[in-house]
Symmetry: C2
Subunit: 190 residues, 2 copies
Amino acid sequence: MRTAGTHSEPQVPARERILLAAHALFYGNGIRATGIDRVIATAGVTKVTFYRHFPSKNDLVLAFLEYRHERWMAWFAQTLERYGGGVNALLPTLNEWFAAADFRGCAFINSVGELGDALPEVREVARRHKQDMTDAIAKLLPPSAMRERYARAVAVAVDGAVVHAQFGEADAALRALEIILEASWAQKGD
Amino acid sequence: MRTAGTHSEPQVPARERILLAAHALFYGNGIRATGIDRVIATAGVTKVTFYRHFPSKNDLVLAFLEYRHERWMAWFAQTLERYGGGVNALLPTLNEWFAAADFRGCAFINSVGELGDALPEVREVARRHKQDMTDAIAKLLPPSAMRERYARAVAVAVDGAVVHAQFGEADAALRALEIILEASWAQKGD
DNA sequence: CCAGATGTAGACAGAGTTGTCTACAATACG
DNA sequence: CGTATTGTAGACAACTCTGTCTACATCTGG
């Protein structure tokens, strides 16, 4: 009995379907709020298949964060580029993100808040993510001895705007960020 | 049979003991990560007593946030005062908070990230909290037509610093915030 | 050509979750 | 004085969660 047109067209391999499903559910509803069964059903795989790829939910959580990191960083760099690539690209880029229907804040901030000490690797991954985000922001700033430090300041302000946007205050958050970015150091370096 | 010296010295009434326990556990470990049974055991009450005060876990969550709000706002205002009450009081105040052994970020940011749409009232409470925090910050700024807007900018930067501190980068977060606060608008108003 | 990787369906164990229920004791107030 | 409130101990129902297991099918590489 042929079970279903499953193997004939495995267009997307199981592991990737699982990751896609995990991304939508973990980011959209929270990690603890999402049971493995739900991921499995959404991905359209079975339990055995799932557990062969990810021995435990924690493994999936870490893989999800890695996947989210790649995906978000690529989107961020590309969108900044599209808006001209300077500091002035930051506000329109974030505006796009905040306006997205599925926006629910920063996956890494949410995950650290949710899992904190329960899964310490999460904090590591989050830290690396913020470092990479800060590096991407540094590229927008004019060269100067202080560039790294200024980039960190902008990154902190951006993350503040992200959580305020998550609270439903996207416009106010962007106006606040705008005020911060108008400071001379952000505009003309050193 | 006298059950135990329970009623003879109810020093702290049950409702408050429950709230105290919920605060320690929800803030320290996360809301979803904390079962009702754990709160009950920590508070030293029984299930019936608990459910007479809080008909459901959601009621407790909301009461916890209300309690946290009062407690944190009082601490914030008082500590700012202790450091002189100007914009310059902000960094040492936050430094104290970040260095506290039980610091785990902002309870409201964490709760929104964790519960998001599952309990929409949480977002309301969080929004009110941030408004009150912003108002407290406005009091530190010199009077000017732009004071409200500047206070919002500072609040956004502060929340960014809070999440970065939660990632284990408290020092870098404070240095970043310092750079932002050095901007002229934060110092001399309009 | 066959062995190993990858896929399928679905039952099940063991733990943890929220919330209810019975039955009884002490206190506080009108 | 006696009734409403607040307290106690602990069993229990109904559910969800993670992870394991049996038993079988198909594709792919050496």
